[in-house]
Subunit: 350 residues, 2 copies
């Protein structure tokens, strides 16, 4: 670390810092008419609907800088917001990025953060159109707002699930949660014996799922291809159990999830067992996987069958509201679902 | 204080808190199709341009809870963002409001904050369409994003000022700055002698200007009425000097401000003199007045002359870029303007 260049924020001055961090921005989308540099950005959606979502990320609550590389943090800050846009079956187009930084932080650290921001925006074709840069007396603070577009008939809400609809998820669950458990374990080892090298080998998949999640753009591509519109959709930030209960509550329905259908990656299962955690519980209640959870009608399910590349898992079905929300275990017991995100302090207002 | 009801946030739970704080929301604008309650809000601007602006407000940097009532803080958080929308000559329509709260804060305190948010939104016809509510280990954190609409020919940018244009401000300057000085002075008195009652009498105007600023909607009303579009516009958050330099830089022009034309309220002048501050310096460099600063052509100036209700002050004119940016003093000296916001740590990226 000592050889690395370190520029104090005060050397650039605040206007200089903003110029430095935003000079690379080139607008990519036709709907982004005017980005950074005025009182507000100007967008033109030309008759399409605009979707808007926002997340506030605070040091110590949503991320721990001890084990989170700044570039990953920038990438993830964008990814989690784009995930909300995809969960509307819409296409993200713009973001604003606001940060509160303490004077402890160097310009190089902020540059890394923005490298991650720009990498995510480039990958998903999104423009950075504004933000706010301020000092912070406390921790590093990140606030991202994402905007996207959709035609009226594309939009998928949380309230449209119907009885007998199949419940689908776009990938395996619980991996991000186990990635976090691993990082927390190694942090404790390091704190007990400073200098100890963390043992993260063999768990790249879990770490990547936690540190650098990808929003599920390909679900929209697949749905468009097979011509299916989900009856309801949400992204899994707080855990499958919590999210399906949002859909059921807003759709006024019940559900059955099947224990043996919850997709868990072998690495997730391996580490969970090593740490004495039930892998199904990790899959059911572990958050931050940012997979999409959606419901489709039985007829539409047929349309997926010839899709080799399909990465869609059926995990249950929708029932009448009076039947409640339950997990059907492998031994045919029914356990009532709990709205317990693994991160109970953070809940979206949205 | 001891008689006041205090509900711990934990009693409601996080989902309960969100329901509690957002239950009063009724959408007012046709362009707000879907607000709080899904992954994202859905807006429909029907062919108009969308403007987007965002601000991050941190405890200890942007506000001091020792002397800032929560309701005022909520109101101001909205007002400063709407001010940016009006500075585009656009009409604000929606906001998202995200907050980070420590467990020290009661539900009643948050409710007061939202009362202020809703009061500002009601006054300016704006819908709250989403946000994010999270715990904070550190201070109270507020992030607001405002969206508005405008037709293409309404929008006023910072880069359109022309040589000989008149420089206008929508009201007196320096009052918010002096309001802050007063509160800081009384805070020090209180810290030295706890129990002492603050002496704020006679300065209601200054306190109101600092604690509860109003965005200048009436400027748009007036401009529409007389049929004038500003050649450039910006809102005064960092001080007149700083803001006119933004306009000059982006318009590639210079300017002359006239010392004897800078509008200073009698209360501002009185307290400034009492505290040994030059009232013109307060007017020139004091921030947070949220007046609008705009330029108009000489011909358009005639159109304002019959407006009795006009609260527009001419403070200078635009020159060729080579002439630089100067204040012309009462004794005909020229002092070069400095981009020194009174709050040098906070600068917009926008």
């Amino acid at each position: 670390m000592s050889d690395e260049k370190r520029t104090e924020i005060g050397q650039l001055g605040e206007f200089g810092l903003i110029d430095y961090l935003t000079k690379k921005i080139k607008l990519k989308n036709e709907s982004s008419e005017k980005g950074v540099g005025d009182d507000a950005a100007v967008l033109n959606y030309e008759g399409k609907k605009t979707v808007v979502t926002t997340d506030l990320l605070l040091e110590g609550i949503h991320f721990d800088l001890t084990y989170t590389p700044m570039k990953h943090l920038g990438y993830k800050s964008i990814a989690v917001n784009l995930s909300d846009v995809y969960a509307m079956n819409a296409t993200p187009k713009q973001v604003t990025v606001s940060i509160g930084v303490s004077s402890k932080m160097s310009v190089e650290a902020l540059e890394e953060f923005y490298e991650g921001v720009y990498a995510a925006c480039d990958r998903y074709g999104v423009d950075v159109i504004g933000g706010d840069t301020t000092s912070s007396f406390t921790g590093f603070t990140i606030s991202v707002t994402a905007l996207g577009e959709a035609s009226d008939d594309e939009l998928a809400y949380r309230n449209g699930a119907q009885v007998n609809d199949l419940i689908c998820v776009s990938g395996d669950l619980g991996a991000a949660y186990m990635g976090l458990q691993l990082l927390e374990r190694e942090k404790k080892v390091f704190e007990a014996a400073p200098g100890a090298q963390p043992d993260l080998s063999g768990y790249d998949y879990l770490l990547q799922r936690f540190l650098k999640p990808e929003p599920r753009r390909e679900v929209k591509t697949l749905l468009d291809k097979v011509g299916v519109k989900p009856t309801s959709m949400i992204d899994i930030s707080d855990g499958l159990s919590s999210e399906i209960m949002h859909i059921c509550k807003q759709s006024k329905k019940g559900c059955r999830l099947w224990e043996n259908k919850i997709p868990v990656h072998p690495s997730t299962a391996k580490l969970a067992e090593e740490m004495g955690i039930n892998p199904v519980v990790a899959g059911l209640n572990g958050g931050e996987d940012y997979e999409l959870l959606f419901t489709i009608s039985l007829e539409d399910f047929e349309k997926f069958k010839n899709q080799d590349e399909s990465d869609v898992f059926i995990v249950g079905h929708i029932t009448d509201e009076s039947k409640g929300c339950y997990l059907v275990t492998n031994d045919d017991n029914e356990i009532e679902l709990q709205a317990q995100g693994w991160n109970p302090i953070k809940k979206d207002v949205k």
